[in-house]
Symmetry: D5
């Protein structure tokens, strides 16, 4: 599973419209309006790396009301189970 | 449900250790090493706003190997169902 | 009580109009024109976390004359009384 | 009344100690650990401009565990009453 | 005496016009076109803190040709006489 | 007359000591502790351009407790008298 | 061989068009839409330094839909063979 | 094929050593010392997305002499052939 | 001799036109289109400090196609001869 | 001729020493201590592109007292003569 965090800055007053548009795009799992310099964070979850290009720059990138985006891609996820299996969790 | 995205910059070579420590903290739902200027994004999901202070600045903030954090908090989540119920999705 | 600091950059000459609009929004407790890179800081105080979405991105976000906002949310407040009850205040 | 917002970045794990120290300083009205790039926002309220120098750079500036501060000073506060008295609030 | 340094970025070719406008505002003591990312620095000197709001955001803020401003306010001034009276100036 | 604004960031708790050192340097006309990302602004006024190198990078630059400086130099000063003599001040 | 990495920010929805235009320019070896604050990275490979000016600021710079570019030029490339010939690779 | 651009800032005088270390890591296709704020750009080419985590944060991330990294990942590559097959290249 | 480096960001496709305009201004000694976040660096060499205001903000500042400038002024130049005369060049 | 502008930030009080070191490096044509966020700008002029790697990252990069460098490389130089030969200088 490929996970990406798309940070989105929208035009003033356009956040809710952009958020609505995001939820209609396949692969967009969760959409939040957020605090801080960005207006929206969308979590994209895709089975296959090749779907990213169509989902992020093509579909998300073409939504009206978006000023700027910055996508952060997950290298790897860490879960309790994996950690227990591989590392000593004796962290102070 | 309160959702927060904790962006973490770690000391060089410390990312995996910090990620392991994060998975042991209650309320930390997902942990990823990521591309871009940050090293890790942790998704925190909590039932109650008052738990944030203990989870983020106290527990996450005290993990060794962290240089800098910036937490982004969700105002609201948007789902297809909610959108269909409230907005006309006829976005061009 | 949820406390948030909404940092606002306005269009040139629009600060006073935006400030006036802010005072009419429920939950906006204090409004200041300020020094530095931002033009206005509004302190939002709300009883319930769920009211944030309506107050900040919806109502504040839709005021005319706003170029950019960045909201900072309080995790926890610290008071003398709490500190005395929990920490040794013998700070040099 | 002079109002100032002191934005503080602390050393990792030092936020609570710095916050405690802040509450012991006269003129520091409210202290919050916060989301975003800063760790703490302290609201300083003073009767007289000349007290600022002693409160902010001297006392706050000398607390252990502080990496960086940026103080924002209020030019003017806006209240509903003042706005009603001076501006036409007929905002669309 | 309250001293403030108003850093101003103007629209291309507008610096001289903005500078001229600044000199007509009461409380603006000195105006310079400058090197670096800002185009103008104006030194404001006022007897009373309450005059700042009218001088900086209202009057300076409403001059045509201004893109962005950032005001820095003096906490305290340091003079040789004061230093001699209070500190040992035996600096190597 | 050459006018320069030396913006100085000091080590935590070092601002007053650096300010004291500045007042002892010839050509440093005014020294202020200030709000914002910088800790001190020093106004340097010199009769001759060639004195700048000795005053700013050499003398100011060698003061203990300084982390970073950024000097802004005046191209030209604007005064009411000059403006009246050269421009039509009929600014709307 | 001269190698350059041209980082390109495009207008919203313009990335694919700009990318298409890039592939038609001689010397542009590879073109990618990418994560992060930039939208596109183009790798330029040229035999001769003097061709850079025509390729980057002239041809690439004149493509429609580009907001901002930042070109990074290679000083030297490092290959396993060169390293083996000159350095001890006994890196821990 | 997965393509990534790893931007690396090294400690002063450490660039050549880090570059040498990079060339010994499988998946690192090209390594350049470069102009601009970064010291090195490494092009990583991998057959499989899952190899990224081991190559970038683990192996590259653990090289001595690295201060900071920022990895940019390619969504999609654009080639003349693909463009000719899909888009009308009639760009003015 | 006064030396200044004028860093210039131009509108897309305007770099060559701005560069041409620069070469026609007296005091502009060298003009380069450059890599990095700026598009042009112009070296200004003037006999007299007072000429700077006319050359940089007035003449250069009024050229069409300029988005932003940042001028860096030389405090002092260092030459081999001066260094040999004053410092021990035995730098390890 | 290859022209490069090496922007250098030095450790506090180290500027003069670094400047001296620079003048001893072949290819470094001019060295200035400067205003603004950088401490030194060195102009490098080399006959051949391949010399850059040895001059900038190797020799300059290894000088003691340097915190950070950012090199800007000239694509092309513009001179009055060339402009007159190629462009109509009838700029309004």
């Amino acid at each position: 599973m490929i996970t990406a965090f798309v940070h989105i800055q929208t035009e003033p007053s356009a956040a809710n419209g952009v958020a609505a548009g995001l939820t209609a795009i396949e692969g967009v799992a969760e959409v939040y309006s957020v605090t801080g310099e960005w207006d929206i964070i969308a979590i994209v979850r895709l089975a296959d790396y090749d779907q990213l290009a169509k989902t992020v720059p093509d579909q998300i990138g073409s939504l009206k009301g978006i000023v700027r985006t910055s996508t952060v891609l997950a290298f790897r996820s860490f879960t309790k189970e994996e950690i227990a299996a591989t590392w000593d969790i004796g962290l102070s």
